[in-house]
């Protein structure tokens, strides 16, 4: 067992896959300097400018070129810098990458890993802070991954690179420096397998990405009050692990979903709806959801903080499950 940061864990997975498979390459703005968050640091030196390729500020072309390069037998890792900027490449991702395999009757596969850093950090305002994962979960053809821990960022990145379809891979900007344990010989983590981050019998709390850590803190608070909360880290929004969530809810009878994204139309609504359809009889209390208000994210810290999903907001909602 060793320690590794969230950023380095993904980088280690990329480096290993690039060593093993010469068709894997990465392309995006500023990669030659190690990426805007340093998440490629050292890779240009090892793999050279062809395989860790700089790109112009042309998100549509970065994504579109990766689609073409994927159809021609390479496995591009596409760096979008901020998930907000990936909106410049929505046609390329949604109309082209996600649909090519289907539309062409299976003649083409588009193995892409689209790295889209998400989330609020500090004073980055409305165009550098969003969490848009639920948009992509809506699109047939895309995989959506939101890792919460360094070990998961390693294991899910391995699976993403080996996967034959486009993967929207959303890392949270606040987690880059997070340290965590990693096995000495870590394995790839399959898509669609949630992780029970904390076991409990009284309520189920589903989260993903950075919100998992806030959820664990909230569960710690509730434990002091005698409530044992089971925290499920969903890891992937598509495919998402219905079985683990439903089994947990059938055990606890209560469900809270917490995510940083805007609550309206967020993926929590999908989980709540499926639980209502499949496990209604097991529910002892109405399902609750915590998410951001439906307002653009403000720059000023006190205003920005109003929108944050925090351990306190999650704990408050969790207490409501027992009211």
């Amino acid at each position: 067992m060793a320690k590794i940061t969230y950023a380095d864990a993904a980088k280690r997975a990329i480096a290993e896959e690039m060593r093993a498979d010469p068709t894997v390459w990465a392309v995006g703005e500023d990669l030659g300097r190690g990426g805007v968050f340093g998440q490629y640091k050292g890779l240009p030196e090892e793999f050279g400018p062809e395989r860790i390729a700089d790109a112009p500020i042309s998100e549509a072309c970065i994504m579109g070129a990766a689609v073409g390069a994927a159809m021609m037998g390479t496995r591009p890792i596409v760096e979008m810098r901020f998930s907000d900027f990936a909106l410049c490449a929505i046609d390329e991702l949604v109309n082209q990458a996600a649909k090519a395999r289907f539309m062409f009757g299976g003649q083409a596969k588009v193995p892409l890993v689209v790295r889209e850093p998400i989330g609020m950090w500090r004073s980055s305002a409305a165009q550098h802070s969003q969490s848009l994962e639920s948009w992509y979960a809506h699109i047939p053809g895309l995989v959506v991954v939101c890792p919460a821990t360094p070990a998961d960022n390693y294991g899910l990145m391995k699976t993403a690179i080996r996967n034959d379809d486009p993967v929207v891979y959303m890392e949270h900007k606040n987690l880059w420096g997070l340290e965590g344990d990693i096995d000495d010989a870590p394995a790839a983590i399959p898509f669609g397998k949630a992780r029970v981050a904390r076991a409990g019998k009284d309520a189920t709390l589903v989260a993903w990405s950075a919100t998992v850590h806030a959820a664990l803190e909230a569960a710690g608070e509730l434990a002091k009050e005698g409530r044992e909360i089971e925290v499920v880290d969903l890891r992937c929004l598509w495919p998402w692990d219905r079985e683990t969530v439903l089994a947990s809810v059938r055990k606890t009878g209560r469900l809270l979903i917490a995510h940083e994204a805007v609550r309206v139309g967020g993926f929590g609504a999908e989980i709540a709806a499926v639980v209502a359809e499949e496990a209604h009889g097991a529910l002892k209390a109405p399902v609750r959801r915590v998410g951001s208000p439906r307002a653009p994210i403000a720059y000023a810290p006190p205003l920005e903080d109003l929108l944050r999903v925090t351990p306190a907001t999650i704990a408050r909602a969790a207490r409501g499950l027992f009211a």
Partner: protein, 335 residues
């Protein structure tokens, strides 16, 4: 634009006789497809390229099978000229099993990767960035293939045009861009909606050598494409070819194109690229009977494709859920 109805220098009659047949194959494929729209056998939109056949044969006639080609919503001609099977294409338009894409794409998403045809596209200009990526992969893999990307004059006003040409120029990628300038962006005259001097000027501004030719002269398109493709294949980086042509029918199979004066269209029919190549072949010594034989062969092929496509069953239901993606069950909890 100079006309070249007499046989020019180095006129290769055998080569152009084959072009002539392919041009008729394209024309008659599309006429059959328009009939099928009227007969309610083709239910989705089709975008005929009638009048633009010289570009398809002249450009694709210089591509090797392993070269990649990316086309547009108006792509039947390119696809046939690249070597796709007319019956598989007709089945695709009819939405039938045995179509190039199992009937899942239709006219706007025809692809035949087996002949290097990497897809028509329903989004104008979207193929440009995909094409430069295909070329990027070729360069990374040190292959000797090239990519040909065809698009219309309407595409030059989309962002991917600028981004894709810049990308190709930065990496000196093996791409031939072909702007098939038929004068119309859907039902709007492109020049009314285009600032500046047009496609060639824009390409040159991005550092890509560009030239503009009469796209209704099959032999001229052939000679020019051959030279430019040679330069691209030789490592010279991207090239840009503008072929001036005219869409003799409407934007879609049901568009009467009433926004164009009748006289304009009648005058353009006199510049029909098939008739022009036929005249050049006669001047080179072929007989009218030779030309009629080519047309009859093409006609028999396309009538056969129509009849066979009509008799072909629909795709089985499982096709609706095949090739969505490996992860997750697309049917989960839908109904």
């Amino acid at each position: 634009m100079p006309s070249s109805n007499s046989a020019p220098r180095n006129f290769d009659a055998a080569r152009y006789r084959a072009f002539y047949r392919t041009m008729w194959r394209i024309r008659l494929f599309e006429e059959a497809a328009i009939r099928a729209v009227a007969d309610k056998l083709v239910l989705g939109a089709i975008h005929p390229s009638i009048g633009q056949e010289a570009v398809a044969v002249g450009v694709c006639g210089n591509l090797a099978r392993e070269d990649a080609m990316l086309s547009t919503h108006r792509g039947h001609g390119h696809t046939l000229a690249k070597g796709a099977d007319s019956l598989a294409m007709m089945r695709e338009l009819f939405g039938r099993e045995g179509g190039t894409c199992h009937g899942k794409g239709g006219s706007m998403h025809i692809a035949d990767f087996g002949v290097g045809m990497l897809g028509a596209n329903g989004v104008v200009g979207a193929n440009i960035v995909i094409a430069v990526g295909a070329a990027h992969a070729i360069k990374l893999k040190r292959e000797n293939r090239i990519v040909c990307c065809l698009f219309g004059d309407g595409a030059i006003n989309r962002g991917p045009f600028m981004e894709g040409l810049n990308w190709a120029g930065v990496w000196k990628l093996p791409v031939l861009f072909v702007c098939e300038d038929n004068g119309f962006a859907a039902s709007t005259r492109t020049r009314a909606m285009t600032s500046g001097e047009g496609p060639a000027a824009r390409a040159r501004a991005l550092g890509i050598p560009a030239e503009e030719i009469d796209g209704n002269d099959a032999a001229l398109v052939d000679e020019t494409a051959k030279r430019l493709i040679g330069e691209v294949r030789g490592g010279g980086g991207p090239r840009f070819l503008v072929t001036k042509t005219y869409r003799l029918t409407g934007h879609t199979g049901v568009d009467p194109a009433a926004y164009r004066p009748k006289e304009e269209v009648e005058a353009k029919w006199k510049d029909d690229p098939i008739a022009r190549l036929g005249a050049a072949l006669i001047a080179a010594g072929l007989s009218q009977a030779d030309l009629d034989a080519e047309r009859r062969a093409a006609s028999a092929e396309m009538d056969g494709a129509y009849a066979a496509a009509r008799e072909t069953p629909w795709p089985p239901e499982r096709r609706a859920y095949e090739d969505v993606q490996d992860a997750g069950d697309p049917r989960v909890a839908a109904f």
